[in-house]
């Protein structure tokens, strides 16, 4: 609903020739880009599976955890901070949860609580150091990243798999989408499947959008990111706002980590390496400014989806070489950063 309203005001503003807010402008670009790439890949790569409906759902199935984690990063970035510890905490959550599931008879609920707890502790400690002791966010969360990886090895050095019947059953469950599906080579109709994690991710996206748009806390994130000195003079508790942003990011990292486990059912020291960078990249592609104050959660969602589809396209074009997806992503990031700096320079005039 909110999103539609947003879009409506966008079109009416465009007609009246008024200037859009930066958030909406960047969001529009990301969404159009995603739709354009997807449409083109259906037209030109339809035989490689892009015309299948399941392909669309897989985009979500594969990226549910990343969507949630990227939401958290968008929030800290909007507040003008950064968190690069989320990859480390995700790996820690996976390994710690698997150990508990396999050896200590944890069930689904207690595992979830453990995951959220780890995420919240990371968020709270880092948030305290950054907000109240005014340490550099990059350095603090860099330490958090190393700590996360180190703790994984402390818990379990080897790669491990979930060995818990109840958990495996839940994580293997799929939602069958009514009336949607693809016909396979033998002519059999196969219904499209969606993982439960995707539902969680979509709920989180909507919830975060609502928080950022409709609550005073959300607006404070923007105010602090826009100009923290002004925000202070306007009567906002800047330190508490920063702390809350990191706490929320930690909570979302906890949920994201759990979804990651739910999807992969394995854990290792090297797991989710670079996940924090993927999340930052998705936020930026989705129109979040690294300088703070500008960003949109729906943009982040589309940022994840856009980088997801680009990777699929590059693979489908036949390049098995591992470097092409990276180089493509580098090009995309460059494009968006140039775009953002153009917007920033326009603002200065």
């Amino acid at each position: 609903m909110n999103y539609r309203k947003h879009n409506l005001s966008f079109w009416s503003k465009l007609k009246r020739g008024e200037s859009l807010t930066d958030s909406v402008f960047l969001l529009t670009i990301t969404v159009s880009l995603f739709i354009a790439i997807y449409a083109l890949s259906i037209i030109f790569l339809g035989d490689k599976g892009f015309s299948k409906i399941q392909m669309f759902f897989n985009l979500f199935n594969e990226n549910a955890a990343l969507i949630v984690i990227a939401c958290g990063l968008s929030i800290v970035m909007i507040t003008g901070s950064i968190d690069i510890s989320v990859g480390g905490s995700t790996a820690l959550i996976c390994t710690a949860c698997i150990v508990c599931l396999n050896n200590y008879n944890f069930n689904f609920v207690t595992t979830l609580i453990l995951a959220l707890g780890i995420g919240l502790v990371f968020g709270a400690v880092q948030g305290f150091l950054i907000a109240y002791l005014e340490m550099q966010p990059f350095i603090v969360t860099l330490a958090g990243m190393f700590l996360g990886r180190g703790l994984v090895a402390l818990v379990e050095v080897n790669q491990i798999q979930v060995d818990n019947a109840g958990f495996e059953m839940l994580s293997g469950a799929r939602i069958l989408i009514p009336f949607l599906g693809d016909i396979n080579k033998k002519g059999v109709f196969i219904q499209s499947k969606l993982e439960y994690g995707v539902i969680v991710a979509i709920i989180i996206v909507c919830l975060m959008f609502w928080i950022l748009r409709k609550t005073n806390l959300g607006r404070s994130f923007y105010a602090v990111g826009g100009n923290s000195h002004s925000a202070l003079l306007l009567g906002i508790n800047v330190k508490r706002t920063r702390f809350h942003a990191h706490l929320l990011c930690g909570l979302l990292a906890g949920i994201g980590g759990f979804l990651y486990l739910f999807h992969t059912r394995s854990g290792s020291v090297q797991q989710a390496t670079g996940l924090e960078m993927d999340a930052i990249a998705a936020s930026i592609i989705g129109g979040t400014l690294l300088t703070g104050g500008v960003g949109n959660i729906f943009g982040t969602l589309f940022g994840v989806l856009t980088s997801g589809i680009v990777l699929l396209v590059v693979t489908a074009i036949g390049s098995q070489d591992p470097w092409w997806p990276q180089i493509t992503r580098a090009a995309m990031l460059c494009f968006f950063i140039v775009l953002q700096s153009v917007i920033c320079s326009r603002k200065k005039k």
């Binding site: 748009r213 005073n216 607006r219 923007y222 105010a223 100009n227 925000a231 306007l234 500008v294 603002k347």
Partner: protein, 504 residues
């Protein structure tokens, strides 16, 4: 008789070593626009900060209307609760939020934002004050003037009785200033007391009812605007009485033979700092000065010549040759030296030694890949330490441990070492002791007699009269006159600053 809304009585405030406010009274009435005037260091900002709770006063009383007993203001938030709102020179709003949000954010403890209520209330406030913008517009898309007005609207909506405008017009153009004044008159009609701090004399006479003048932390007086002609205001700010001063003449003037060889010629030069296009020439062996009140554009002129601010238009000739100076290094290579106004920020590099600070400019010109040997550097340093009489333990002493006057001499040595044809000294005597001041003035005259062309800027008019042979007078970013020879008197300068038309 109008009601008094704010009374400050016998306010004292000291900082270590500085007496910032000494027995200052200030009274503001309802529906009055009251200018607070004074030169640098007069105590304007200290008084404002005491009033807004940024500083705690040492002694004195503040009364607000409706409170029988004195109020103690401990923080900006508390000042706001008492109905004292401040709008600063730089916009203290969030550029990435909408106009409506900037009006209301941070004022409630509500968990949720009611956008409809925000926008409709904002619409009413903006309409009521005739501010030409929409509530849903992003603040950064509004002009600076509108942003300033939104800040004022926020202050007014918070039910303020006293509105402090601290140099709100310094980044506005003329039309924007006009809009702001309309808004100020509107508020005046509603009974808000406005304290207006500005450096622009024209604006004071256009919009204010009363003027309070401070000087050196003391109250000079409170005047009705109609009782105080401009030239008297200038005289009061500078602390000089008209007419009855012994004329101080440029002692060295007769001895200097003004050659006709122009070193620097600027034609219609203007820069991003906002100065209006100006013409200026400086000849060999001549000491020129820029006179004017604080903020009149003295420094901006020389910064444009030196390339420290980006030049937008105009021509610059050095020894008759057209040059295009875009960066300070180009100016240095063309033989221009610039001793900047703010020694601590733009001058010294505190952790480096005296020697390193002295050779810095010459080293930059030579390039960092061809460093001087230690012996060379030591020779340079020794030469200038003895030449200027710099009091330092050794050339290896960090410059930050020297006194202000000696630091200034080190910076002077830095520029002399580059042997410039044209040297700009922007407030070289600020904050240093009398003895060193005299030494620096003598040195300026000596350098000029040796053929260097010098521009000397100082807030102290006597210094300028003693050292300069020609004065460029500035007001509100315009060059308004040029004085030389017998015309160079305090009275003439003040009349020129005040503007011929309004002085009687």
């Amino acid at each position: 008789m109008q009601n008094t809304v704010l009374t400050m009585q016998n306010i004292y405030k000291s900082f270590p070593g500085v007496r910032a406010l000494h027995n200052v009274d200030f009274t503001l009435r309802e529906g009055e626009i009251h200018a607070l005037m004074g030169e640098n260091g007069a105590g304007k900002s200290t008084l404002i900060k005491v009033l807004t709770g940024v500083y705690a006063k040492d002694a004195g009383e503040i009364y607000m209307k409706g409170t029988g007993k004195p109020v103690h203001i401990k923080s900006p938030q508390e000042a706001q609760r008492l109905g004292i709102s401040t709008v600063y020179q730089e916009i203290t709003l969030c550029p990435n939020l909408t106009v409506a949000e900037n009006l209301f954010i941070g004022r409630t403890d509500d968990l949720f934002v009611d956008w409809k209520k925000y926008n409709s209330r904002a619409e009413r406030i903006l309409g009521g004050l005739k501010i030409p913008t929409k509530p849903t517009k992003q603040l950064s898309n509004c002009s600076i003037a509108v942003q300033q007005m939104v800040a004022i609207a926020r202050a007014v909506d918070m039910d303020c009785k006293v509105l402090i405008l601290d140099e709100p017009t310094s980044s506005l153009d003329e039309q924007e200033v006009a809009k702001l004044f309309t808004l100020m008159r509107e508020l005046k009609g509603r009974g808000v007391g406005i304290i207006f701090v500005t450096h622009f004399l024209d604006q004071v006479y256009e919009v204010c009812d009363k003027i309070t003048v401070l000087r050196n932390g003391e109250l000079v007086g409170e005047y009705q605007i109609k009782d105080l002609p401009r030239v008297e205001l200038v005289a009061k700010m500078m602390g000089k009485e008209l007419g009855d001063l012994a004329e101080i003449h440029n002692e060295a003037q007769p001895s200097i033979m003004n050659s006709k060889e122009a070193i620097i010629e600027a034609e219609e030069l203007t820069s991003t700092s906002g100065i209006k296009p100006f013409n200026f020439a400086s000849h060999k062996g001549e000491v020129t000065g820029f006179a004017g009140l604080l903020g009149s554009g003295r420094s901006e002129c020389v910064r444009a010549i030196y390339g420290a601010d980006k030049v937008l238009k105009g021509k610059l000739r050095i020894k008759g040759e057209n040059v295009n100076i875009t960066t300070p290094i180009k100016a240095m290579k063309k033989g221009i030296g610039y001793l900047s106004e703010d020694r601590k920020r733009d001058g010294i590099i505190g952790d480096l030694s005296v020697r390193e600070n002295i050779i810095l400019a010459l080293q930059v010109m030579r390039g960092f890949f061809r460093p001087f040997t230690k012996t060379q550097a030591q020779a340079f340093a020794d030469e200038y330490i003895s030449l200027l009489g710099i009091k330092t333990a050794s050339a290896d002493t960090p410059i930050s441990s020297l006194s202000g006057g000696n630091q200034q001499k080190v910076i002077l040595a830095r520029w002399l070492l580059t042997h410039p044809d044209y040297l700009i000294l922007d407030e070289p005597t600020r904050g240093i002791d009398i003895g060193t001041k005299v030494e620096i003035q003598k040195l300026v005259l000596k350098l000029a007699s040796e053929g260097m062309s010098i521009t000397f800027i100082s807030s102290e008019i006597e210094e300028m009269l003693r050292t300069c042979s020609r004065l460029i007078v500035m007001r509100d970013l315009h060059v308004v006159g040029e004085l030389k020879g017998d015309d160079m008197t305090q009275d003439k300068i003040m009349y020129t600053i005040a503007g011929g038309s309004n002085s009687k």
